[in-house]
Amino acid sequence: MTSRPKMLPSTKVNLEKLDVMLVDDNSQALDILAQVVSGFGVRSIVRCASGDEAKTKLLKGAYDLVLTDAQMPGLDGYELASWLRHSGPDQNRFVPVLLITAHTRHSDVARARDCGANYLIAKPVTPKTVLERIYWVAREDRMFVESDTYAGPDRRFRREGPPPGMTGRRSGDLSAAVGHAETPNLSQDEIDSLMKPTKVSI
């Protein structure tokens, strides 16, 4: 997407002090992720072989980034992210979560968006893709949204509007059709304060 912050080759990034959690039930996939983030300079890496193990560790320590496989037996990556956002411990509730999946079905992408993850990465993992997402999370200024049905980074950030093919209206949004007024009309003073006519000298 053109509006994402561009990661230049000469940009300096410091990942040395990050506490990173990696979650995958496939040990070789964990090795791959560990080598990638080690190459970026990360020193503190905690590896978890399941979502349940990750949950236990997230309850105890604080992390700066979680990279988790989406499909796992037991607690999967989507459920882990959703648990973190809705009822995770204070120290990790807002931690950036990058979901990783081998097969990106449309339904998986929608599920990743709705579980509160920051980004979804398609395998095979490449260092550029991972670092770029970390960079985006660090650069962007997304609000955190909390409702009965969703908790996580704003899914409609940077005023880009809804994704193509989506209506994009929240349940609390007004109807697109103009109906009868539901609140009292504005008073003249209120209208004037909005219009603010001022004299200008030409």
Binding site: T11, K12, V13, D64, A102, P127, A138
Partner: protein, 165 residues
């Protein structure tokens, strides 16, 4: 109807990433690639073993393959994607993605599409066995599989003709 609350949260990543130290992006990427290359041999072995396992359990010569679930094959194919880091077999991950799409459809329709499965297995075998296969040929195989999947999906969705088997 739920009421949404929107608020800012501290961006710890930003504070750490841009604190002045560390390394340049191109250096970080090169270091990560170098570390990944130490796993290339192990990953290639895993991929080869998985393809052998797939051929043995789901290939045309395997007995009783129809009794297995498409999900079992899907899991094996997804594990190839997990381990596809080497550039030795470009196109392999794309074939696996196509294979996963096909197996998703098989699972949804609760029906194997053996001709399409066999073509995907053959393509996996070809790409992993012949490292000298030119990039253009690999690309043709990947796009050919996409066309095949499209045709098979359309055929599966259309009503059966009388007299067809």
């Amino acid at each position: 109807m739920s009421q949404a609350r929107r608020y800012r949260v501290p961006n710890r990543l930003r504070a750490m990433l841009f604190d002045g130290g560390g390394k340049q992006v191109n250096e970080a990427l090169a270091d990560a690639e170098a570390r990944l290359s130490t796993l290339a041999e192990a990953c290639d072995t895993t991929v080869r073993n998985l393809i052998v396992e797939i051929e043995s359990a789901f290939g045309p010569a395997s007995r009783g393959r129809e009794r297995s679930s498409p999900r079992n094959l899907y899991n094996l194919v997804a594990r190839i994607i997990d381990s596809s880091i080497s550039q030795a077999s470009p196109g392999l991950a794309e074939i696996c993605a196509s294979f996963c799409d096909l197996l998703d459809r098989c699972e949804e329709q609760n029906r194997w599409d053996w001709p399409a499965v066999d073509v995907h297995i053959a393509a996996l075998h070809l790409l992993s066995a012949d490292a000298s296969l030119p990039a253009a040929a690999r690309l043709r195989i990947v796009s050919g599989l996409a066309q095949l999947r499209q045709r098979r999906a359309e055929a599966a969705d259309s009503p059966p003709r009388s007299g067809s088997s």
